[in-house]
Symmetry: C2
Subunit: 413 residues, 2 copies
């Protein structure tokens, strides 16, 4: 079973938005054992859509389109599909009722443009959309499925999971065994990891492969197997062997997140956390609080971006700031002590650095970042020498801070 994901919109081609829909759909289709062999982004013209559907119908069993369905003038996917499949347009009462109810509940009057949306291709099954006005459409032609959904990510996801999946599962059972596991590591580079496990990888059978997926401060290792048989146990055995070899640079598997693994470690020990951030400006806090249920462990952050707030809220001495600067070992140690004092948490991390592009000096260039972490009586510090790139520095430092908290929980709590 092969699939193509087509995302529609000039805004993708000219780089004004990043296409996140295709990654999400790629993952969902993988989980169904369907191989996505291409993702294609095309222009929002009827011609481009028709041509691409015709091409992809030659090789794919399932084609999923997102984008170009909506009440405004750039709504053209529906027109292209109706033309390609030679389908009449009919007024769909159910869609009308659903959209009307959606607007009534929000006290918004229904506009002429919204009524236009209720004309649908007669050859399509109309798929409910509870989060927006444009419904999905499913064409089942010549044993193939063509699914069209609006481009707004949360609407697309809702339609896929609630309207499409139940239909799909009824109609098409899977056939091939595709199995992926991803080992998540932090704190070492791709090449070092590859050398470390090269003896294990030499023994990999031919139906299995490995890929290295580096991102800022971390590397994911994906083991994949495609086979006529269920090879999940075999893959899991390799995963265990690799994890053992890599040791505590491994923080989790598959969709595990670094921030969640940090919170889990402290939750198990019934300990609380807080952060004091300067150059990372709340990113560590944002990452920790993006995890549902984080409030059990994580108490909060003092983002002391200015000298004044470092003194007022974190009790950093004026003397230290003047003599050694806001980016210094003593400042982060005082920030951490102030944080532990004012929040009464068990463990914390304090960060101060020069993210750039401005603010660098000859002896403290952009990319100079100090971190302190730990608990009362056991404080660690580290100096990071990073890049000239502000965004990269902020992101890398947030990963380093989370990893410091993670290793502290394992080694010192």
């Amino acid at each position: 079973m092969k699939a193509t994901v087509i995302t529609i919109g000039d805004e993708i081609l000219i780089g004004q938005i990043i296409d996140t829909n295709s990654a999400w759909l790629g993952e969902q289709l993988s989980l169904l054992g369907i191989k996505v062999h291409q993702i294609v982004s095309i222009s929002d013209t009827v011609e481009a859509i028709k041509l691409t559907i015709a091409q992809q119908m030659l090789t794919s069993d399932i084609i999923i389109l997102t984008g170009g369905l909506g009440p405004t003038k750039d709504d053209i996917t529906k027109k292209a599909l109706a033309e390609h499949f030679d389908s009449d347009m009919v007024f769909d009462d159910k869609t009308y009722g659903r959209i009307k109810k959606y607007f009534d509940s929000r006290g918004i009057p229904m506009l002429e443009a919204h009524k236009e949306q209720c004309y649908m291709p007669s050859k399509a099954e109309i798929l409910d959309n509870d989060l927006g006005t444009a419904p999905g459409m499913l064409f089942s032609i010549e044993g193939k499925m063509v699914l069209s959904m609006p481009g707004v990510p949360y609407e697309m996801k809702w339609i896929f999971q609630n309207s499409f999946l139940p239909l799909y599962k009824k109609r098409l059972p899977s056939e091939k065994f595709i199995y992926h596991r991803t080992i998540k590591t932090v704190g070492r580079g791709e090449t070092t990891i590859a050398e470390n496990i090269s003896d294990i990888l030499e023994q990999l059978p031919t139906h299995m492969s490995i890929a290295y997926l580096p991102s800022i401060g971390s590397v994911r290792l994906r083991l994949s197997s495609i086979s006529d048989q269920d090879t999940s146990q075999e893959v899991d055995t390799y995963v265990s062997t690799i994890k053992k070899k890599l040791g505590n640079i491994v923080y989790g598997m598959d969709s595990d997140k670094l921030e969640a693994s940090v919170l889990d470690l402290y939750r198990k020990k019934s300990m609380t956390l807080a952060t004091a951030e300067s150059c990372t400006g709340g990113l560590v806090a944002h990452r920790l609080t993006s995890v549902p249920g984080s409030s059990q462990v994580y108490q909060g952050s003092i983002v002391s971006y200015s000298y004044g707030l470092k003194e007022k809220l974190l009790i950093v001495s004026h003397d230290t700031l003047i003599k050694e600067g806001a980016v210094s070992e003593n400042t982060v140690v005082e920030m951490l002590n102030g944080l532990l004092e004012s929040t009464s948490v068990d463990v914390g991390v304090a960060i101060s650095g020069i993210a750039g592009p401005g603010g660098g000096t000859p002896d403290k260039p952009v990319g100079t970042i100090w971190m302190a972490w730990g608990r009362k009586g056991n404080i660690k510090t580290k100096l990071l020498n990073l890049s000239k790139n502000r965004k990269l520095n902020i992101e890398y430092t947030s990963v380093a801070a989370l990893n410091a908290l993670r290793l502290f929980a394992i080694e010192h709590c």
Copy 2:
């Protein structure tokens, strides 16, 4: 001049990473007046790469590939290109020297896998990469250019801007006039905006088009023109007319960011800002501090995720928290007053809500968010009733908070 961007890697197709390279390249090519007519993501196999290059060579003048160049075993793009263009592999001394220097400066020994990287197709021009080990490659064949770069975004960007662009500009002058302007709005939906400016849009000449690009809490309007003549002035006139009609929902143009526009407004008034965040968990702080130079205006945030920190750091009364709850109008007003008191900034915003998925009650369901903002003696409050989706609630609230600060600066400062 037509271009195709090809991103390579099973990790893209199965959704383990989001392809951000193609958006960035799409924008760069647009700025050069080159029309990207397709973005294609394919599997990291020699066959898929060769087939896709052959297909795209039929219609595109410029083909840009990213991914699959690197020291680990999934490095296959170079092999596919050498095979497709029937090119020998030769040891490239310059690449060897560059990689050796890169490692020496970091005190890391050069591994066998890194030496393998120095064999390059003899038909390619080798493009320097100052930020990593894998260089870029440029094939100039039959009047077309095929550029291959590693998939790590910052390396790819560096090679494109520093090694490729100077070569490109020397060889191929542009011919068509492509002009885009984007009006950025916040606080109104796509359909409402479309109705508001429908009379203006009816007069658009045929070489101009408009697209609505909605994202959480905001909508961008992109006006595009493709013509044999320079129509930039004509587009700019339409932009002015639309901006005037839309009023103060417009916060900027093109690559302007909402957070930067907030900081600019307060910078011009020499006023300072701080934030008190609960459910947004530092995201407002992170967004504001992601802007270079934000420290002139933005002093910091108190992320009081727990009841305890709301009382300790923001002086919210225990009574209010117990009687009315952490998510209540009085709590956010007290948070704001505490923030203004403890940080001495001019203007602030305080946020407390139930982001979900847990924590909802019958009278305060998930998605209930209170905000207070303003200065001493002039405090505004607002209740948001949002969705069940944690990520969406956090993102939307951060936009609403930034917009509240923006409008407060315009109307009350």
